[in-house]
């Protein structure tokens, strides 16, 4: 019999997994590059880590805090340009460049977020979208940082850990990416169980109620946006050090901001593993279609992504995780 509230028992992540699958997954991730030595497979995994980290950040501002940013590429690009520019021009190690990128991203996030996040409605989404496009245009015309051709990071063979360039093998890049992604997941895990996560979700669900309970909406939305910017910036820096050639079209495109949205929604908005699952499903497909289209991905990709976002939000608003939950519930109900 269906009584009120009987279908609303929560399915916690613990019920979906627990410790053992997590340990198995960790072990698999650690040994993976030694088992699958094929460069293309490793490449796809590295891309999953990098975009997955960026998507984890978007999940915090949008999935948990409910503020839709359509400009995460701004911070990805800032991260990429910071490491590349400082290394190419001054020989500064990308590790420092990475921190510099985060600092710049935080300043830009505050600059964008402070005036727009306190407004109701879609101002924030539109502002991030427009500023993203403007940022790309600025970088295309900014000759000091390479204009439309961007930056070619000088190839150096010595001291790979200082230069953050690994030419012999993808394995160090793989582990660095895995470490950052794990850090992002660990942060999300901690956040979910903290006051921060509670406040973010309260703001997402019902901002008026949240503020009537002492939550400073502006401050916490801005904090969520700064976290998202940090994740994207770190991802951008890693991307630059991996690809070694960056230009405004590859690190600042709207397509990238949209791809991150799609990934997170596909995996499950506001679910800790959502962004990573989404990245793991979408990136291999995206890589394949890129090859299929023979280009870098352009208007066609954008249309396909947009279409998929609409489909998911209408039919599977809780993403793949929602589907899994529903399957588990069905199994439980059948069993009881």
């Amino acid at each position: 019999m269906v009584t009120e509230g009987s279908d609303t028992r929560i399915v916690t992540p613990r019920r979906l997994g627990g410790r053992i699958p997590l340990i198995l997954l960790s072990v698999a991730a650690l040994v993976f590059p030694w088992v699958f030595e094929d460069a293309h497979t490793q490449h796809v995994l590295i891309m999953i880590f990098i975009y997955g980290l960026m998507a984890l950040g978007w999940n915090i501002i949008a999935g948990y805090c409910g503020q839709i940013s359509l400009g995460q590429a701004i911070f990805f690009g800032i991260g990429a340009y910071s490491t590349s520019f400082l290394f190419a021009n001054f020989g500064i190690t990308p590790w420092i460049g990475m921190l510099f990128g985060v600092a710049v991203s935080l300043v830009v996030a505050v600059g964008i977020g402070l005036p727009t996040l306190r407004l109701r409605g879609h101002y924030f989404a539109i502002a991030t979208l427009v500023i993203g496009e403007i940022t790309q245009t600025i970088f295309i015309n900014w000759e000091y940082v390479g204009g439309a051709t961007g930056i070619w990071i000088p190839i150096v063979w010595d001291d790979p850990w200082y230069t953050f360039q690994f030419h012999d093998s993808k394995i160090p890049t793989y582990y660095i990416g895995l470490a950052f992604l794990t850090g992002g997941l660990a942060f999300t895990y901690w956040m979910e169980r903290s006051k921060l996560g509670l406040y973010f979700r309260a703001i997402r669900d019902e901002p008026d109620a949240a503020s009537s309970l002492g939550v400073n909406l502006g401050r916490y939305k801005l904090l969520a946006f700064m976290i998202a910017a940090t994740f994207a910036s770190l991802a951008g820096s890693q991307f630059a050090q991996y690809i070694l050639v960056i230009d405004p079209d590859t690190v600042f495109p709207l397509l990238l901001s949209i791809l991150i949205v799609l990934m997170t929604m596909l995996g499950g908005l506001g679910q800790i593993w959502g962004p990573v699952v989404g990245a793991a499903v979408l990136l291999p497909i995206s890589e394949a279609t890129r090859i299929y289209f023979g280009g870098q991905g352009g208007a066609e990709d954008l249309m396909i992504y947009g279409f998929l976002i609409v489909i998911i939000s209408v039919f599977y608003p809780r993403g793949l995780f929602g589907l899994i939950e529903r399957l588990i519930k069905r199994r439980d109900n059948a069993g009881s």
Binding site: L198, A209, L217
Partner: protein, 237 residues
């Protein structure tokens, strides 16, 4: 404790609050009555910072709270519920209640334990791990109350706690409000049910079309000619 001084608020051409002026003493229950559209909820919005008055002042514990944000006003000690209930639907009942506590405690476990006390108080403890969207209207009302209590307000503004719930739930909610007072919370209560007001309120403010038409003891208000015409007359007809 709370002083509302000649508050005015209009929405376009509509005077939603006109020279509203009364005080709430510590420890009392003040009832607010008035027909639909009288401006009762608007008054709450003005006091809690959700709307800015055109003129007038609101003093809490002797200081003006005009121009403060809702979260700042809550942190000073004013809690409220919403007539149009606003639970956090994608959060559990327990989490809903924990939100208001986080300004007071630093540990999540501490907040969880205290949240259970409020959930027991309103009789929702067995629903604590259910998502709020799965609650009935009566349960949501009680959640709204527990959640507002969790911010440990000195003054609690309740917007129609008994409205829209079935008749057998009303006495439970009434006794909850009574217990609130015994535990030292000052309450302002918007209430359509005259019987409820008679049993609970120390004083009553009557509003009609944005105007304050009466203030006094419940018995005085019940006998007040204008109140009967504008409000009781309509509902007793």
């Amino acid at each position: 404790m709370l002083a509302v001084n000649y508050l005015n608020k209009s929405f376009g051409g509509l005077q939603a609050n006109q020279n509203i002026n009364f005080e709430v003493a510590e420890g009392e229950i003040l009832g607010v009555i008035g027909p639909n559209g009288a401006g009762k909820s608007t008054l709450f919005d003005l006091v809690t910072g959700f709307e800015k008055p055109d003129s007038g002042d609101v003093l809490f514990l002797g200081k003006s709270i005009l121009g403060l944000r809702p979260d700042q006003i809550n942190r000073l000690g004013i809690g409220r519920t919403f007539q149009k209930l606003k639970p956090f639907p994608q959060m559990t009942v327990e989490e809903n209640v924990m939100v208001g506590l986080m300004q007071h405690v630093s540990q999540m476990n501490e907040a969880r334990e205290e949240a259970h006390r409020y959930l027991e108080f309103v009789g929702l403890i067995d629903k604590m791990s259910v998502y709020a969207h799965g609650l009935s209207t009566g349960q949501r009302k009680r959640l709204e109350l527990a959640r507002a209590m969790a911010s440990r307000p000195k003054l609690l503004l309740l917007d129609e706690v008994t409205g829209g719930v079935d008749q057998k739930t009303v006495p439970e909610l009434v006794s909850l409000v009574e217990r609130l007072r015994t535990e030292g919370t000052t309450v302002v209560l918007i209430e359509h049910n005259m019987k409820v007001l008679m049993s609970l309120a120390d004083h009553v403010v009557a509003l009609h079309l944005g105007q304050q038409i009466a203030y006094g003891r419940p018995q005085e208000i019940q006998a007040h000619k204008q109140v009967i015409e504008s409000y009781l007359g309509a509902s007793y007809a």
